[in-house]
Amino acid sequence: MNLNTSEIDGTMVMALAGEVDLSHSPALRKALMELMFERRAVVVDLSAVTYVDSSGVAGLVEAYQMARTNGTRFVLAAISDPVRRVLQLARLDRVFSLADSVEAALKG
């Protein structure tokens, strides 16, 4: 898993790439939680994620819940097919805010 965070117009864009499984999800969760504690608006770019499992999804769910409590934006952008499959299976595709691209997420 590769994790890159940059700031665009006040929003934190976290780009994830590769496989997000149990050996990487703790790092993802930690990075997301730090942003949530800072009450940042966050867009997660999932276009280059080739695999995600329940532990990776759990980190996203936890961030989503904190964002809702904080009243900050939390958007999943450009989700790849493997991510879409897992979100559908978990019926979370209806829960998260989804955007087709990072640009669309920043505009929205």
Partner: protein
């Protein structure tokens, strides 16, 4: 003057003793040293002839080992009885016979045989602190005089010092022999291990393992592919321990390798081995042995048993012992003259276990023997593992069970027909870092078993989630193994995951309600979503957890 003469004599006697002790210390050849010592003594005391006798422990006789003078009596044996030498040894005192004509113990036997005329004798025991080794006997002082009391004292001192030197030499020799024997044992054990079959390929239907309790083993096993595609195998245990047993074991194993190619069926193989062993004579030793032949194409095994522990068949309904058999090999001639009965076992997807009594007689921690039931539980505990790993795991767990007193040898014969169709089984460390490798493997094998690409991806997800559950909930982050099994039964893909952790309460990892958006419990839901069926099966022998997931492969 007399005093200084005595001093000079004493000092030269001391020189002689030092010389003799030094001879013994430097020499490798005890006989030559004894002769040299005797020469020095005879010349110093002016004897016409001398001989040195040593007690031979086995016969209890005195044997002449060195001799000086006109007659040659080396090798002469004196049975216990009369005679000056025996009197010296018996009394453990020097005997001075000034005139042999007046001594009733003088037999004159040697004189009669050799023509030597013995006038006087001085004989001193070679002994040290009551340990009797023999005696040194001198004949006829040169110049016609008799031996004196002073001569007797000197000879006693010299013979005592020879005795001490001889004891030392014998100790050193014994230690060297012991060391040599130890080295030979190590070598023999290495040769023996090299003779056992090499580790078999994972796909082989037969695997074996041998764990010697000490240097050399009396156990053996053989795995021998035959020209017609069948595989001959054998397990055996030679009575007794140590070098003899291991030599007989080596011979029996060689006979099996040779005869298995020639004889038709395991019964004839055992009868032929028995007949060969009878011809050489085993001096009270015997061999228990099972020989068998597996036809991998049918899963049928033909077995013959000569006095060995009954083999166990593990089928769907549990274990069954194959009790038929004959007495051990090498017991009596013609016992196998009418052949040896054979049993036919249809493996039918199951496994046949053969073992030596080292397995069943291993002591558990409470001191009881493991026994047949204990052995069965152990075999079942690791049933989900691939065969070679399973045998290693069983043997490893014996260290935990108790102490190994006997060699342990274990052989498994499996029906691999299903596996030949593409079943996959492998053991992985239960760690997050291993998950990537497991996913890659599942993707590949599922594809090979006929799953379309998107279905294979779902299988990857299900296995990954199941492995996470094992890592987190079964092993709770501790060390352990996961055995992954993938198989196709008709149009069903069957995935089994086995761990060796304490049983998990399934209710605790039941799927969450989807109305409830929270992390956790999601993995089990994902598994159930992509699979047609997810079941926790009863773990074999109550150890570990066994999860089975089934998915119909749609064309």
């Amino acid at each position: 003057m007399p005093k200084s003469k005595a001093d000079a004599e004493a000092s030269s006697h001391l020189d002689l003793m030092i010389e003799m002790t030094s001879d013994f210390a430097q020499s490798q050849d005890v006989e030559a040293t004894l002769r040299l010592g005797l020469e020095r003594v005879a010349s110093r005391l002016g004897a016409e002839a001398a001989s040195l006798f040593l007690l031979e422990p086995d016969s209890g006789e005195l044997v002449c080992h060195a001799c000086i003078g006109p007659t040659e009596v080396v090798g002469l044996r004196l049975a216990p009885g009369r005679g000056i030498v025996w009197r010296t040894v018996d009394l453990d005192m020097p005997q001075l016979v000034r005139d042999t004509r007046h001594d009733p113990d003088f037999t004159g036997a040697i004189d009669a045989a050799t023509g030597f005329v013995t006038r006087s004798i001085l004989c001193a025991p070679m002994s040290f602190r009551g340990q009797k080794l023999g005696a040194i006997e001198l004949f006829n002082k040169q110049g016609g005089a008799a031996f004196t009391q002073a001569d007797a004292q000197l000879l006693r001192a010299l013979s005592m010092s020879s005795a001490l030197a001889l004891i030392n030499t014998r100790l050193v020799t014994a230690a060297a022999e012991q060391e040599g024997l130890k080295r030979e044992l190590v070598l023999a054990s290495e040769i023996q291990r090299a003779m056992l079959p090499p580790p078999q390929a994972p796909a082989s239907p037969i695997h074996g393992i041998n764990l010697p309790a000490r240097g050399v083993s009396g156990d053996f096993y053989e795995i021998l592919p035959l020209a017609d595609g069948s595989i001959a195998f054998a397990i055996g245990d030679v009575s007794g321990k140590g070098m003899n047993a291991s030599l007989l074991m080596t011979k029996t194993a060689s006979l099996f390798r040779c005869l298995a190619k020639r004889e038709d069926g395991p019964g004839r193989i055992l009868a032929a081995i028995d007949s060969e062993l009878q011809e050489t004579g085993l001096a009270g030793m015997f061999v228990t042995m099972v020989a068998g032949i597996l036809d991998p194409k049918t899963g049928r095994v033909v077995l013959a048993n000569a006095g060995h522990e009954p083999p166990l068949v593990r089928g769907r309904d549990g274990f069954r012992a194959i009790e038929d058999g004959m007495p051990p090999l090498g017991i009596a001639p013609d016992l196998f003259a009418d052949g040896c009965p054979e049993s036919v076992v249809e493996l039918d997807g199951g496994a046949l276990y053969l073992f030596t009594d080292g397995l069943t007689e291993v002591r558990t921690k409470d001191g009881a023997m493991l026994g047949s039931d204990g052995a069965k539980s152990l075999l079942d505990a690791f049933a989900a593992m691939p065969a070679a790993e399973r045998l290693a795991a069983v043997v490893r767990s014996l260290d935990g069970v108790g102490s190994l007193r006997d060699d342990v040898t274990l052989l498994v014969v499996e029906d691999r027909r299903l596996a030949a169709k593409g079943a996959f089984e492998r053991s992985y460390a239960a760690r997050p870092e291993t998950l990537g490798e497991i996913r890659a493997t599942v993707a590949r094998v599922a594809g090979e078993l006929g799953c379309p690409a998107d279905m294979a991806q779902d299988m990857v997800l299900a296995v990954d989630e199941a492995c996470q559950n094992i890592i987190r909930h079964a092993y709770k982050g501790g060390e352990g193994d996961i055995v992954l099994h993938l198989d196709r039964e008709d149009d069903l893909l069957v995935i089994r995951l086995m761990d060796f952790a304490p049983p998990v309460e399934v209710a605790k990892i039941k799927p969450r309600s989807l109305d409830e958006v929270r992390p956790g419990g999601l993995g089990t839901h994902l598994m159930r979503s992509v699979m047609d069926q997810v079941d926790f099966l009863a773990p074999p022998a109550g150890i570990g957890n066994l999860l089975q997931m089934v998915k119909r492969i749609s064309p």
